[in-house]
Amino acid sequence: MKLAFEVNGERRTVETSPWKRLLDVLREDLRLTGTKEGCGEGECGACTVELDGEVVNSCLVAAGQCDGRRIVTVEGLARGGVLHAVQRQLVACGGAQCGICTPGIAVCAAHVVDRGLIAGCDDATARAKIRDLLAGNICRCTGYQLIVDAVIAAAREVAPGTEGAR
């Protein structure tokens, strides 16, 4: 089928099987290799992208289901060469080590921050919520603490509910 959809704000078209995983369309057809495959089973979150404004595992989305939809990948987080606050803070706080989980963490964390999902929470509540919201993103390196620190720092930087501070 001919798949026409919006990826990181650009209209893209791809000739593909409707059964192909969105993950493979992104990596192979569009050469957007920032999105990683960890498990291919929906367990690890390395392949996380936004689909119509919600975070999903791109290994569990069929290409056909993306026709006419809006996708944001890790490549779409930075604007005009400036990293998203979450990306800057993952670097600053040491929230990325080997890096395989990092694109998925960045997409999910940017979603959490930009949607204001921890807005107005005190520090302890925000930390608990971040762990809950990012529970589908497995990281074998950092022990999570530094990732949580990075999301907290990014949320402070970005005004909730705005596209903000990119």
Partner: protein, 282 residues
């Protein structure tokens, strides 16, 4: 080459379902696309993802109707569900993690009909009815009659699930859901269950108690329901614990041993009634 259809409305979906019974019915794809790159492509895909007429959560006439296409994220964010159907909201919050909840649908959980489907004991305990449709018409199936065996259901080859209808629990009915797994997110239940307990003061008038992961399908535990009727809550907790063991046949598998599951099921069921005791006091 895999055919693909995204129907515009339910009639088109039902016509396609009747014309192509061999096509894969795909919703959030969180069951069907696991390891999809290693699996044979289907002949065709009937894509129900975001099919508007089945994507709703609607409170009306003493019930809440949840469209088969509603995601668990939509269910857990719905104010009426959180207020009146707390066990369903609780189950929704523990299905996978955020990325799964954003895609996984009620219709998919009911369609897969796994013994570990987390919403299924809730549908049993709340005495839900399923609405299914085909080109032949619509019908309602009480959820307690839906599961016919391990991952098999009463869905006919030309039918689609439209919605689940959940009657609102009465003012003296308390409801509860609890899951035991290795961790809260992304974990397949070792044992989980739900109960709807109708009280007169602290006396149990009636109870529906359902468990998952302890048989080939989600089940109501009639022996427990009978044992607690007419008992005060404190006694009901003991009676429930004693009744559940002989009534279930949990299995040994990679996730747990049968004896562990049995013990957890006993504690779980006892706690349903103990928990009510604290709430009845308040």
């Amino acid at each position: 080459m895999t055919a693909y259809l995204r129907p515009r409305d339910l009639d088109e979906a039902l016509a396609a379902r009747a014309a192509h019974p061999d096509w894969m019915v795909l919703a959030g794809a969180t069951d069907l696309m696991v390891n999809a790159n290693h699996r044979a492509a289907p002949t065709g895909i009937l894509d129900l993802w975001r099919l508007a007429p089945i994507c709703f959560v609607r409170a009306a006439d003493g019930e809440i109707a949840i469209g088969a296409g509603a995601t668990w994220l939509e269910v857990e964010r719905d104010a009426a569900v959180c207020t009146h159907l707390a066990p369903l909201a609780a189950a929704a919050r523990e299905i996978g993690a955020l990325q799964i909840q954003a895609r996984a649908t009620l219709g998919g959980n009911v369609g897969t009909s796994s013994p570990v489907g987390d919403s299924l004991p809730v549908l049993l305990a709340l005495d839900a009815e399923l609405e299914v449709a085909s080109v032949r018409g619509r019908r309602r199936v009480p959820y307690r009659e839906w599961c016919t065996g391990y991952r098999t259901t009463r869905l006919a080859a030309d039918e689609l699930i439209v919605a689940a209808h959940l009657p609102l629990p009465g003012p003296t009915t308390r409801t509860v859901w609890r899951k035991v797994g290795t961790r809260r997110a992304q974990s397949i239940s070792k044992v989980m269950g739900a109960a709807a307990i109708t009280l007169d003061g602290d006396v149990v008038i009636d109870a529906r108690v359902a468990l998952g992961a302890i048989a080939d399908r989600p089940v109501r535990i009639a022996a427990v329901e009978a044992a607690v009727r007419g008992q005060r809550l404190a006694d009901a907790a003991h009676a429930a614990r004693a009744a559940v063991g002989p009534a279930i046949q949990p299995i040994d598998d990679v996730r747990s041993t049968a004896s562990y599951r049995r013990e957890v099921a006993e504690n779980l069921v006892a706690r349903f009634f103990h928990g009510m005791m604290q709430r009845a006091d308040r």
